[in-house]
Symmetry: C2
Subunit: 151 residues, 2 copies
DNA sequence: GAATGTTTAATTGTGTGCAATTAAATTTTA
DNA sequence: TAAAATTTAATTGCACACAATTAAACATTC
């Protein structure tokens, strides 16, 4: 029943949801994250935790600062998230002895072991989108450009 | 200093942040919402609250269900958000006498008054993007299509 | 080399998001 | 029409996000 998008002409069309860029971004981002959920849940991961692992699978050890720079998240988000990942024995947290201000996050065996099952997730998500590859690439490129412009 | 994007070749490029669609979506969505912040803060609004008002400025009265369908948010998110908006006297909340299950959210004068100052926000954001209008439209269209596909 | 400034995480507080459950009202069905 | 199913919000619990503040470590300056 219902689920009809509302529509009414308006003297300022810029104030309509559908004319904005931010709303579809906001909504698509949440829906796409939700599409990851069934796959991530099997591994006990949340989406932001998965992003942290994507970086650690490539670099083994990274500071909180570097993680934050690459994910565009601050310590207020990362610290508690990383503590939860530490409790699950996926990562280690220790101060850098050469600069005690920095905290080094290291990949532990249990975290490394998640890589194999996670490998197939991107492909499965791509299939879920049912989107021509060219269109996917175009959208990805545009978003990455916009990302640079907004940083 | 630093702020260098990490890069290392990898046997599975699909697992890299930059090859994914979801990460730039997630990051751009948060950055764009953050770009709204200074404008919304002047009005005491958060971004999701602004979205609720966008709909109420057009329709005056909407049920929680209809708001949720249009914003793709559930009552777990909307109920506390709307209670905060009620405390600020922007909206009213009452049961529909014809169907006591539904809660009707109504626009109050203080909420209606926010429309004028909010009118200029989309334009200011567009300027902030420094993006050709054609590109803006193309991206908006693609995202709205993807939104339909994901729903 | 002490004083000043900067960098880095952690903490605190507020506000989403959302899955899962609950409870009430309504609708459908037997 | 009584019983069963559905619809709708609210509630609960958990996990982000992020602004603002704090505190410790390091760097710079005089």
């Amino acid at each position: 029943m219902s689920n009809q998008p509302l529509s009414t002409p308006d003297q300022n069309p810029l104030l309509k949801l559908s004319s904005q860029l931010c709303f579809p971004l906001y909504a698509v981002s949440r829906l796409l994250t939700k599409a990851y959920q069934p796959f991530l849940q099997e591994l006990g991961l949340t989406y932001p935790q998965y992003l942290v692992l994507l970086l650690l699978w490539e670099h083994e050890e990274l500071t909180v600062k570097t993680l934050g720079e690459n994910l565009l998240l601050d310590s207020g988000t990362l610290t508690p998230l990383l503590k939860r990942m530490e409790q699950k024995q996926w990562v280690s947290r220790r101060r850098d002895p050469r600069d005690e201000r920095s905290v080094i996050i290291g990949l532990l065996p249990a975290g490394a072991a998640l890589r194999q099952p996670a490998c197939r997730i991107p492909e499965q998500l791509f299939n879920r989108l049912e989107m021509p590859e060219a269109e996917f690439e175009a959208l990805r490129t545009q978003l990455n450009q916009l990302l640079l412009r907004l940083q």
